[in-house]
């Protein structure tokens, strides 16, 4: 079980609890604004871009090579950027804060 906090572009703060699956799926299920997950979670569309809070990047790890390449589709990418379809929900990421890029 992990608690994950999303901060949307409207500065709305939403904390959700998940047990399994990807962070993207959790966000889509709860209508988090700015996370579409169009490709269903196979790292093919870059519509689930989040900025991980710097203090949480150790928990999530950095983006993989393909993720980094795909993130280039967005202009506001930084070293804390992740595609959250690639973040699996587990105890390891409990408490993380994600700022939705779009």
């Amino acid at each position: 079980m992990a608690k994950i906090t999303f901060i949307t572009s409207d500065d709305e703060k939403i904390t959700l609890e998940g047990t399994s699956g990807s962070v993207m799926a959790l966000a889509v299920e709860n209508n988090i604004k700015g996370i579409d997950g169009d490709c269903g979670g196979v790292c093919s569309c870059a519509t689930c871009h989040v900025h991980v809070a710097p203090e949480d990047i150790a928990k999530t790890g950095e983006a993989s090579e393909i993720e980094t390449d795909m993130l280039e589709l967005d202009d506001n990418t930084d070293e804390y950027s992740r595609l959250c379809c690639q973040l699996e929900i587990s105890d390891a990421i409990d408490g993380i804060v994600l700022k939705v890029a779009k």
Binding site: G21, N31, C39, S44, C45, I66, D69, M70, E72, L73
Partner: protein
């Protein structure tokens, strides 16, 4: 305008219909939403059917587009296992399978397509013959494969569906032969270079891909399917998969007098020639402004983007469909990403990345018409896909020599054509 007494009826609850229903709520539609589909399963992602879902042991619940709760939460009346028989435009209602009537203020046709089962003599006698379109198809294939001793599968059709299914079934231990009628696989959608690459990829993974194989008859005897081709060759299989294309589900629209061509004709807001009826997803015949062409697209991207446009249009917001199509395919360890429409190209540039990939293969095919970049197919190369997307969107002129040279560091700034 208050919409709280109005009713929107959506025919078809796959990517297009489901996204539309949720987008309507986002756009402020307060009226009722009735979403119908003949498939009894809670709506699910279709792309994984031929890919990860086929090889997994997951139930379809893991691939749901949305949970059952979320429809309730958004007050979307999802009715599954229900067919729509007719549209009455004058009375503004639809007739459901049981004869009951549902009236609408706005109607959205998101009825998609159904697989073609070609009229090959004897095809009706074949046992364990399946298309790939629904979760139920995949369950049947999994069961048939588990019961088969020989695990011999023949796939008719060397398009993406056929090839993805071949890779997935191979992973499950099947012995797979793909029969393609054309001289090369993926003939309709990619350059010859891509066709050769995928043919070799399947060969290297132990899947036989045979081209110029026109299946002329199928027989079932001694508990086996015999598949006979025009050139005299024949094949046996316990399981036959058919992936030769689709028929558009446009009959409801046609019968009610809505203008149809290759699909249901819509304008840039996805509206048909009836002001209160829209059509989105695989069934819509629409205009793509970037390519200035009319077409029908079978893709998740198109379904999702048209769902956004239709929702905005129905809620009286200014909107226009204007996107660059994109697609993907996963086979074995290869990730293919495609952007744009290559139709009409007269030159291709092949770019191979130096350095080793898993397969020695990270490359991209760039389709040009004169100086205009039309499309990019990227194999294990998200970078090419992303740069291609940006260039196509920006109508950027590309230096083809630099692009072709794998020594050129792969960054947009290094690939621009200077005036």
């Amino acid at each position: 305008m208050s919409t709280n007494t109005k009713t929107c009826v959506i025919i078809g609850a796959s990517h297009a219909g489901v996204n539309l229903a949720f987008n309507l709520r986002k756009e402020g539609w307060e009226g009722s939403i009735h979403l119908y589909d003949s498939d009894p399963e809670l709506p699910y992602h279709r792309p994984p059917l031929s890919k990860a879902y086929l090889t997994s042991r997951d139930s379809i619940e893991k691939n749901q587009l949305r949970s059952a709760d979320s429809y309730t939460k958004e007050n979307i009346a999802l009715q599954l296992g229900v067919t729509v028989q007719a549209i009455n435009r004058e009375e503004k209602n639809v007739v459901l399978g049981d004869g009951s009537i549902q009236s609408y203020d706005k109607l959205v046709i998101a009825s998609g397509a159904r697989p073609i089962i070609p009229p090959i003599p004897g095809i009706e006698s074949a046992k364990n013959l399946f298309p790939i379109r629904t979760a139920a198809n995949i369950s049947s294939i999994r069961i048939a494969l588990s019961k088969s001793n020989s695990k011999k599968v023949v796939i008719i059709g060397g398009g993406y569906i056929g090839l993805e299914t071949a890779a997935s079934l191979k992973k499950l231990g099947a012995s797979v032969t793909v029969l393609e009628r054309e001289e090369r696989i993926l003939a309709r959608v990619t350059a010859p270079e891509m066709s050769s690459f995928f043919k070799q990829l399947h060969h290297d993974n132990g899947v036989e891909v045979l081209t110029s194989k026109n299946v002329t008859s199928i027989e079932h005897k001694d508990n086996k399917n015999y598949i006979n081709c025009a050139d005299g060759s024949n094949f046996t299989a316990d399981i036959v998969i058919v992936g030769v294309g689709i028929f558009v589900n446009k009959e409801l629209a046609e019968e009610s007098g809505i203008l149809c061509k290759n699909g249901i004709c819509v304008d840039e807001t996805t509206k048909t020639n009836d002001n209160d009826i829209f059509a989105i997803g695989d069934c819509s015949y629409h205009h793509n402004p970037h390519y200035n062409t009319n077409l029908r697209l079978e893709s998740v991207q198109n379904a999702i983007d048209q769902a956004k446009v239709a929702a905005a249009a129905i809620c009286d917001k200014e909107t226009k469909y204007n996107t660059i199509p994109w697609f993907w395919s996963d086979q074995y360890h290869v990730k293919l990403q495609m952007v744009g429409l290559s139709q009409g190209y007269n030159e291709i540039i092949l770019r191979k990345e130096s350095g080793e990939g898993t397969y020695g293969d990270s490359f991209s095919v760039w389709y040009f018409k004169e100086d205009t970049l039309l499309a990019v197919d990227a194999v294990n190369n998200a970078k090419a896909y992303v740069i291609g997307t940006k260039f196509i969107k920006g109508n950027t002129k590309v230096n083809k020599e630099k692009l072709a040279d794998s020594e050129t560091v792969f960054k947009p700034v290094n690939l621009l054509l200077e005036d």
